[in-house]
Symmetry: C2
Subunit: 490 residues, 2 copies
Amino acid sequence: MRIPIDHYSVIPIYRQIEIFFRKAIQSGTLLPDMRLPASRKLAEDLGISRITIENAYAELKADGLITSRVGSGTYVLPLCPLSSLEIKNSRVTWPLWQQDLVIGKEIIAGKVLSKRQKISQHLISFAAGSGDPCLFPVEDFRRTIQSVIRRDGITAFEYGEPSGFTRLRVSIVRVLASQGLQTQPENILITSGSQQALALVSQLLLKPGDVILVESPTYARALDLFRTLDLKIVGIPLDHHGIQVEKLEELLQQLHPKLIYTIPNFQNPTGVSMNSWRRRRLIALVDRYNVPILEDDFVGDLRYEGRAQPSLKALDPGGRVIYTSTFSKMLLPGLRIGFVVAEGPVYQELVRRKHTYDLASSNLIQRVLESYLTIGRYQTHLRYSCRIYRRRRDTMLKAIKLHLPADISVTPPRGGFFIWLCLPENISAKNLLPLASEEGVIFAPGNSFFPNGSGGDNYLRLNFAANPPEEIEEGVKRLGKVIKRLRQYQ
Amino acid sequence: MRIPIDHYSVIPIYRQIEIFFRKAIQSGTLLPDMRLPASRKLAEDLGISRITIENAYAELKADGLITSRVGSGTYVLPLCPLSSLEIKNSRVTWPLWQQDLVIGKEIIAGKVLSKRQKISQHLISFAAGSGDPCLFPVEDFRRTIQSVIRRDGITAFEYGEPSGFTRLRVSIVRVLASQGLQTQPENILITSGSQQALALVSQLLLKPGDVILVESPTYARALDLFRTLDLKIVGIPLDHHGIQVEKLEELLQQLHPKLIYTIPNFQNPTGVSMNSWRRRRLIALVDRYNVPILEDDFVGDLRYEGRAQPSLKALDPGGRVIYTSTFSKMLLPGLRIGFVVAEGPVYQELVRRKHTYDLASSNLIQRVLESYLTIGRYQTHLRYSCRIYRRRRDTMLKAIKLHLPADISVTPPRGGFFIWLCLPENISAKNLLPLASEEGVIFAPGNSFFPNGSGGDNYLRLNFAANPPEEIEEGVKRLGKVIKRLRQYQ
């Protein structure tokens, strides 16, 4: 009997033999009452020990697939009903419950994220969602990981507290205080990135069909989440000063939304910030209409000019605003450490829910972050990053003025990572992208940032932070070429 | 004017001053039209520079809280409507939407997890959910983290792929193959622990009110999750050979469950394993009734005797079983790396959903795990752990025979971490726990493992793996004392 044996496989040989027979029996190649080779003979044939064969047979016997008849040999037993199904269907059909799954939209994120890997000398990407990895303090972190493991040993690898490493929460309180936001460790919950914070809050406060108000456009991964949860997403238009709060009251009266999701500082994708009057007005409105705010402050720190606005949370009289931020953008995306600031009953509910979702965020990484996060080092890194990124923003703005058509409008951002470009009316960002890609430059097309997935076709988002100045210059030049070419043919 | 300044605080002084005035204005201590001190005078009073005061005032002006009148001075401005609310309510009342939150049950987990910290010389805990941290290969991991960061640099800290680090998925394929489960990297999704896998699958396939069938008793954190999701939890009784599959068909016909959650190997909390016949019967039944199985194999590797049963996944003709496991129990809980094995449309839906929940699990830790996880090292660690834990199991069984009353029954587990104790009818595990705690020993009382939270009051779960033999001996002795004492008074 010819049985393929791989002597170099990690799979033990007795297992390979067992699997071979198992498959043969289940597929009907070996039928009930057929006699299997005697172990001694098979061992000879295959050039392996008899014990190995007998181990394989023992497993099959234990599973009721074969049986030994004394003095007679080893025989295949009849299978239970399922196997007749297997014999009938030589190809697998997915069970009905799988076929019924509503297939969700393809996520763009995978493509955007993997673009980093495709970056060669030829492709310049303005599509990334983060800053420049080269600024990441990798060496610092490596050393810090070392010292934390030496210091804490096993404890660093245990589950840790559900609301997060206490000392890290204390450090975060200090960081927030230096930004004018007063809070306490007991109101901070560590999450696996701010994406998890968005997921926790949405799932706690809303059910399928509930209305959520978002900026239009807004963070694409948040839209993905809200769609996955079957929420009714309603967009509020933005202008240079952020969300158009004047249009908000009517929506609150008509739609009774269960949550308002806002990115008040250096918004993704537009780069605009909510002005002071609107922040206060928003707080007053949600108070009157009893609607919670989810404030996403993912790059509030990265300010290049102007004054820091108080966060909505700093204006919160108590319990109206759930604030989230992350260390993914300022430091390292791979850390997956974010946090929520909240007071009132909602805080404990978030802790509880987070616990049921993944028990706790990485204790080791939380400890490393706490160790790293002395205000001095964080502030130093912040100032350094701001300096670099401000220069890059200026480089890109200059390049845009130089290389792109004059009727392309741009709102210079005062912080963050993104420049939001408005193309002339007859140019579609979606159509532009493949052409740009061939020319060696990519960006994030505008429609993925809009609630309906459309209505943003004239826009594109450029990340000025992730590339050095020469690449920015060159990338915008390429973009200009493609736009010019596209216009000639229209 | 007396303003408290802390010169040693991490909060910049101009901020401290700004915050002081901001609070005073918002609380009504400073009323509209009151005149603020001239910056030069205030600077003199506080012994700081005038520029500092002016920076503070500039921030308040930018926020519309104060204004300068030329030649006159700086005055407090009236606040927007909300502040009158603040002035009225000297204590914060939570907004209505917070008051309406259904307050979930207190999680026991927090208490169980934190018991590790309370372990002193006097308290012996049999309540833990994992193995002995002392067995964790901390040094190995520390060195591996080093070499991975040196090898991969920045890339180790980037987001990574949504379905998980490819090479880790390949390693997992090999590990599973050596256990008789054939799969491919394209069918593996890395999750943030197997708890996240449970959360993803439940939320994808069920909505509030849907029926989920579970073993009764079963893993307490899974019950927490199902309750949080408002599922209707129906328990199927267990016996020494696992879930009573004979009782299953009727439940499937009557209740139309949307998912069956099972732990076929060394179940938590009972330690029993599903026998071979029942595994096949279960597969045949779910096929006929079109119900998915979620198989949780968290300690299938930790086998001390008997033969390995094929996992349900290994018996799955295709797409009927979603399999999950974790490295938390075998290696280190703090890693938060688990995985799902699934085929068919459900796989992509799980990847998509996981992405919206937290983008990706820690890229760094995945890479470290992959580097560590050469089959040789994993198998070595596995054999070592099995040897230690088997001895501890035997120590506990012996101690139970010696120190506990004869009418206490125990089913010796053939693997895993737990011994499930059945107390005599008139003894409640919940009542026993505080008494045992005073005596210096704790355990996990049975009722948290039952779907209704009750009906398990006669049972308790003992973790034999987490303590060295002397502690086991001593702990069981203390438990025996307390039980004896409790009986005397009844």
